[in-house]
């Protein structure tokens, strides 16, 4: 069965995420961050941040509520039982701090078939309340047997 490319180019409504200080701390502890700028307000301010700053990979936390509906959309038609996360790219912009409101816009950038597997490439752009880009993501999901 060939891959269905009909949804390529589809964009989903932007989803906003409000970044909480304790959520940053919880994430930082889970991934083993020891830099105090991710845990302690005074350390973050002293290092020039507006507040406790999120580790770069915290972008997966604030992007997730936007990406879920895109991956699950029947128009895209991914067989979730056969899906694996194949590759991931992030390009970072402005740092994200506690109290920020981040809005993420997902898009289905490409669908293609290779070696009997379907590749579903989503992109995301996340911006802060000043309209500055915080991260651009490229999320590639691979589906066995297309």
């Amino acid at each position: 069965m060939p891959v269905n490319k009909d949804a390529v180019g589809k964009q989903w409504p932007p989803v906003a995420y409000e970044v909480g200080l304790e959520k940053i701390r919880e994430y930082a502890r889970a991934v083993g961050e020891e830099n105090p700028v991710h845990l302690d307000r005074e350390a973050a301010l002293a290092a020039g941040f507006r507040d406790v700053v999120a580790p770069p990979m915290f972008c997966v936390v604030y992007s997730a509520p936007a990406m879920g509906p895109a991956v699950l959309d029947p128009d895209v038609g991914i067989n979730l039982m056969a899906m694996v996360h194949g590759s991931q790219e992030f390009v970072w912009g402005e740092p994200v701090c506690a109290g920020d409101l981040i809005t993420t816009q997902p898009k289905l950038a490409d669908v293609y078939e290779k070696d009997g597997r379907g590749f579903y490439v989503f992109t995301s752009e996340s911006t802060n309340a000043d309209g500055k880009l915080t991260v651009r993501g490229t999320w590639t999901n691979i589906v066995r047997g297309v």
């Binding site: 502890r29 083993g32 991710h38 770069p56 990979m57 997966v60």
Partner: protein, 133 residues
């Protein structure tokens, strides 16, 4: 970040070693919001053909990111990270992140990096960019 600025092509960044404990996937699930049972339920994972519950790929990617931000001493230094997820990451096995400088150009480093548990390379073909300004 003067030390990083002295690095040349072929040099290594400090290795990062971390052993996620048995309950790490549960804490990462809570922290990230990804409660896919393949990460937190050994019985479910075995029922779908996995050896046991596996690490979240994005947790392992976060270790690769941390190897770079720790080396730089500043989370702002990491500008780009691209990875491929391949082998299955398992709890209670040490992850080793190794990183080599591929290009060093005027305060910008491009690295080749990977994460492995023993011979099992769980993150491969990864590249990062660090800016040292």
């Amino acid at each position: 970040m003067a030390e990083l600025g002295d690095l040349n092509q072929g040099d290594s960044l400090p290795e990062l070693r971390v052993t996620p404990d048995k309950y790490l996937p549960h804490r990462y699930a809570g922290a990230s919001g990804d409660f896919n049972p393949i990460h937190i339920d050994p019985e479910f994972a075995k029922a779908v053909g996995l050896p046991s519950n596996i690490l979240h790929g994005l947790y392992s990617m976060a270790q690769v990111a941390r190897a770079h931000t720790d080396a730089a001493g500043d989370p702002r230094a990491l500008r780009r990270l691209e990875v491929q997820f391949r082998g299955l990451g398992m709890p209670e096995q040490e992850i080793v992140v190794t990183t080599t400088v591929k290009e060093a150009d005027d305060g910008r480093l491009t690295t080749e990096t990977e994460a492995a548990q023993g011979d099992n390379r769980i993150i491969r073909n990864a590249q990062a960019e660090l800016a040292l300004d």
